[in-house]
Amino acid sequence: MYVVSNNIKILSLVLVVLGLLGIGYGFYSSPKTIEESKEMIASMGHDSHSHDSHSSHDEKSYNSNYDGDHGHVMSHDEHVFHQLANRPWAAVYVAAFFFFMISLGTLAFYAIQRAAQAGWSPLLFRVMEGITGYLLPGGIFVIVILVLSVMHLNHLFIWMDPEVVEHDKIIKAKSGYLDSTFFLIRAVFYLSGWVIYRYVSRRLSIAQDNSKDNKNHVKNFKLSAAFLVFFLVTESMMSWDWIMSIDPHWFSTLFGWYVFASMVVSAVTTIALISIYLKSNGYLPNINSNHLHDLAKFMFGFSVFWAYLWFSQFMLIWYSNIPEEVVYFISRMEDYPLTFWGMVVLNLIFPFLILISSNFKRSNWIIVMAGIIILIGHYVDVFNMIMPSAVGDQWFIGIPEIGSIMFFGGIFIYVVFSSLTKAPLEASGDPFNTESKKFVYPH
């Protein structure tokens, strides 16, 4: 049985405390009135990372949020004020979502392993179940932020602002769906469904350890298959609700599956990192470099798959150059070139080159290094999806952002490792356990 080491406890505590400080600083230093924001901009003096064509940017990013000729007459200053005020909120939201998505991605990967009757991974099931222990708390964090947004404490989702909707024909037309109450009900619905599956599946998995027959396993198999259908639909809807609607004028049919790819890469990477950690501390004796090799193969494969979906979405919008669609990427390429292109390097080039070699896939430290790069890369992915619309060109990766990562990261580590203590680390009753133990690759 796993026991949370003191190092982990101290680490998570430190991260949470430092994170809170960072977040607090972010909120404290963000402007509370338009005058304050004007002062901030003046003192920054048309700052470092915006281009020369700063003013035209403003027009573009201004227009991306507000339909040009349906003048909600918001002054430039007010707009910038909202952006700056959004920044700590966005920082918290990005980090909260990122860690939540790791958990959700792990749940999906776990369900796929069960539904596919995989023989190599059962020894890793308890690690996956541990990571999904963060699903409920992580989900609650996200929903709390959504509720606070609905209560108008921030301008993350501009469609929640009735003033804006009143003057915006496009958003008004979809206000049946982009309606705060319905939005929250949906959020609770998604999270409930996912959490119920996690709870029941975990219960069946633990019960199977002590049972004489395969009934629990078979129930879990059927449940996982049904869950995947529920997940397929709700994951897409969640990504439209929680991320795509931040740009309420924009749309992409691929969006749901694109976010899923990001989710599942991050999940597999986290499973690998935690497994390596546990193994290096003497746990998981039956896990060996064969299992690691398979995890690394998934890290490689899903990274390439993510890049394929990223490219599909990007290229198709770039190619046909339709104004209402392409403005999404224009703001990202012009205001966020470092994170936008950097993300492709972190999420495709690095993992591809490092993880293509079979030998490298069996090496602990290479997997850890590649894993860290992948996780950073997918954080940047979520950053790129949310920041440009919430914060525009007033972005930076600074104290609020890093503080948020630390805060949610600390909680994530603590919750996950605590979950690992709740059940034996080896799913001894799983009928595929022996296959998992004997698993050798390549032969």
Binding site: K174, F251, V304, L316, T434
Partner: protein, 463 residues
């Protein structure tokens, strides 16, 4: 016996208490024997359809595309529908060979040879359409980037139609090579059993002198893995590039970012359905039920169900986002699909693709041979309609109402399509009597882990 272990809960993949020798004999039998009456009847029908198709093609090439039902508004119809349909079907073979190899799914061994053959033959059919729809197919060599005397006039690398040329060529040749390399040990088996001198000569030729040395097997396995690793992104890229033919445009119903993975899922969906159709018949006729077991059929049905659900999810996503986008042209495109003059095609597509695979949730139905056969045909009909709906309904009523018109196929459109079906079956029937239709060397590697006799002994031993 460590490496031969398999969990008792898994169903056997080779039944009938086979030995290595018995596998050899069973797989060699259809080649060493002669065709029966049923084979000749089906072959005759297929050949007739094929000949009719050739006639229609000759008529088209000599007279012009005007023999088809196309018009200015609807510039693509049956030609491209058929092209995408055939390419899509081909994807299952590569998926079974490559992706299921990477996922170490042992059940692929009994079916991959025939699935790959199906891929080759489908892609051949697919490749006909871009050529014959050219108008001047004798100038087809103009699609290749070779220097010429016109200045040099090059091909346009910005065009998805050219991307298709590279994609389909790569796909056809790499699949062919993957298939043939895998066939070498099996051809060698036939060669070494062959008695008649002509058979001996032919199989010696096609087996490339394969001798089964340990070093050769080592390379063979590595090559198979690398080809599988290459073929997986290849198969994804090919149908993605085919989807780019539509998605790179600005037409509502065509320009949508979900097309790449949605087309790939749809391709796997229809491909598996076609494999199912072919194998359900072949296993009976060639007495291979011990190698293509009910477990194989059930697993293929599950894949059909999964990919069908993904396709269904994509349909719903498109509908929702069309509304959500607020773009009136997009909204009309979908309204027209469901309620306009081609509503019957749309609803056929929905019924066949979304509703019918859901029956596979029921164990009784997904293990029923008859039901599996019926669904496999239904799915392919549905997938044909899906491409027809995408292409024709989006074209016949796009941005300019004064251009709105209808499309009807001529007998030539229909004849060429039937001809490709005939050609496909001609090739497959010939294949089934001359090629080893089961990857027997691969099946032998899983005999000890998944053969019913070995499993029983091992499970009894454990108890």
């Amino acid at each position: 016996m460590g490496s031969h272990y398999e969990a008792p809960i898994r169903k056997p993949l080779v039944t009938g208490n086979k030995s290595y020798h018995q596998i050899t004999v069973d797989v060699a039998r259809p080649i060493e024997g002669s065709a029966n009456k049923q084979w000749w009847i089906v072959f005759g029908i297929s050949l007739t359809l094929f000949m009719w198709g050739i006639g229609c093609i000759i008529y088209t090439v000599s007279t012009g595309i005007g023999t088809w039902g196309l018009n200015k508004t609807v510039g693509w119809a049956w030609d491209i529908t058929n092209f995408v349909w055939w390419v899509g079907i081909g994807h299952a073979g590569t998926l079974i060979s490559a992706v299921l190899l990477l996922f170490r799914q042992k059940w692929r061994m009994g079916i991959n040879r025939s699935a790959e053959a199906m891929t080759i033959f489908s892609v051949i059919q697919a490749g006909l359409f871009p050529v014959i729809h050219m108008g001047r197919p004798w100038l087809a060599y103009w699609i290749v980037p070779i220097p010429n005397t016109f200045g040099s006039l090059w091909v346009n690398f910005n065009s998805p139609l050219l991307w298709d040329v590279f994609a389909i060529s790569t796909y056809l040749t790499v699949s062919l090579v993957f298939w043939w390399t895998g066939l070498l040990p099996d051809f060698a088996m036939i060669r070494d059993r062959a008695v008649k001198p002509f058979q001996k000569k032919i199989y010696s030729l096609v087996s490339f002198g394969w001798s089964g040395r340990a070093k050769d097997w080592q390379r063979f396995e590595e090559v198979s893995l690398v080809l599988a690793g290459l073929a997986t992104p290849l198969v994804l890229s090919v149908h993605t590039i085919v989807s780019f033919d539509f998605a790179t445009s600005v037409i509502p119903g065509w320009h949508t970012t979900i097309f790449p993975p949605y087309f790939v899922a749809g391709a796997i969906f229809s491909g598996f359905a076609m494999v199912q159709t072919l194998l359900l018949v072949m296993r009976k006729v060639c007495n291979l039920e011990d190698y293509i077991t009910l477990q194989h059929i059930e697993l293929m049905n599950i894949v059909i169900m999964i990919t069908g659900s993904i396709v269904g999810c994509a349909y719903i996503t498109e509908l929702f986002i069309a509304w959500y986008s607020g773009v009136e042209y997009e909204q009309y495109a979908f309204l027209n699909r469901a309620t306009g003059p081609y509503w019957w095609a749309y609803w056929a597509m929905m019924t066949c693709n979304v509703f019918s695979p859901q029956f596979m949730w029921f164990k009784k139905l997904r293990t029923s041979i008859t039901f599996s056969f019926v669904i496999s045909i239904v799915v392919n009909i549905g997938m044909w309609f899906e491409r027809f709906v995408i292409i024709v309904t989006s074209l016949h009523r796009d941005y300019l109402p004064s251009s709105w018109t209808m499309f009807s196929p001529t007998f030539v459109d229909i004849g060429i399509f039937l001809g490709t079906i005939g050609f496909f079956f001609v090739l497959f029937l010939l294949y089934s009597r001359t090629f080893p239709v089961i990857a027997q060397a691969e099946v032998k590697t899983i005999l000890k882990s998944s053969g019913d006799n070995y499993k029983q002994t091992r499970d009894n031993h454990v108890k």
